[in-house]
């Protein structure tokens, strides 16, 4: 265990709780409350909504989340390598090169597939 004392962290944590809780409480106590027709609507002072909010999202959002996960993981591994790059030497370099190379190949594949194009116009119909 690190020998640096933990109590400053605990104090900091408590302070955060107090400040945030205090802000919420004070605004709740001091603020005005009213219940009119427009209050419950989203964007009280904005544009009136058109249609339902429950439209179906494009699956591209999901695919982008997947790409984010995969490349996030890659970044984490590269970070681990970068921390001890000197000690790992050339063998470590070769290993990370293979790792990145495989994922680079997949990136190239995505690109060619058109999975990175946001508009559907340029996607190639494939069977």
């Amino acid at each position: 265990m690190n020998d640096s004392p933990l109590w400053p962290l605990a104090v900091y944590f408590l302070l955060v709780l107090v400040v945030v809780g205090g802000m919420v409480l004070i605004s709740w106590a001091l603020g005005q409350r009213h219940h009119e027709m427009a209050t419950a609507r989203p964007y009280e002072s904005g544009v009136a909504r058109t249609g339902t909010a429950r439209v179906r999202l494009d699956v591209k959002f999901y695919l982008n989340a997947v790409f984010f996960v995969i490349f996030d993981l890659e970044a984490a591994f590269v970070f681990a390598w970068a921390v001890s790059v000197r000690e790992l030497g050339w063998s470590g370099f070769v290993e990370i090169l293979i790792f990145v190379g495989v994922l680079l190949a997949s990136l190239a594949y995505l690109w060619r597939l058109g999975a990175l194009d946001w508009s559907s116009a340029r996607r190639r119909p494939r069977r």
């Binding site: 265990m1 984490a76 994922l103």
Partner: protein, 165 residues
Amino acid sequence: MSDPLVTLVFYGIAAVTIVAAIGVVSLRNIYRAALCLVLTFLGVAGVYILLNADFVAVMQVLIYAGAVTTMLLFAIMLTRSPGSPRSNAANRQSGLALFAVLVLVVLLVLALGTAVWPQTAPVAAQSSVDVLAKQLFTTYALPFEIASVLLLAAMVGAIILARED
């Protein structure tokens, strides 16, 4: 690990984690369940920090609390069925499931309660990223390279399945 304050912090984090986990499996609304899952992930990251596992904690926050949760929320939004408030209801086998879990609890109490682990002398703490990176790129180079193919297969598979054509 003898600092009572650390122990106190552990109990706090553990309590939050367990309560949030129970929320994941008991809340009626699946959005709220997913948000409880984020809280669980963050609590687990806190546990890792208490265990000196800083790199694992960073990965936990980056991958689990950040990316995986985003994916989960998108998937929930893309598959919502109209007008069903009890989106996270239990299935018909929940009684059976509870029984199975209780059996496991008994087994775990019996097993972990009596377990004697091979103890080694505690070693002075050091930054875990150094050691971990060395292990990752020397002893565990093989699984590391297999993991790149794992990620490739997962990404290609997800595209094949999810795209609409």
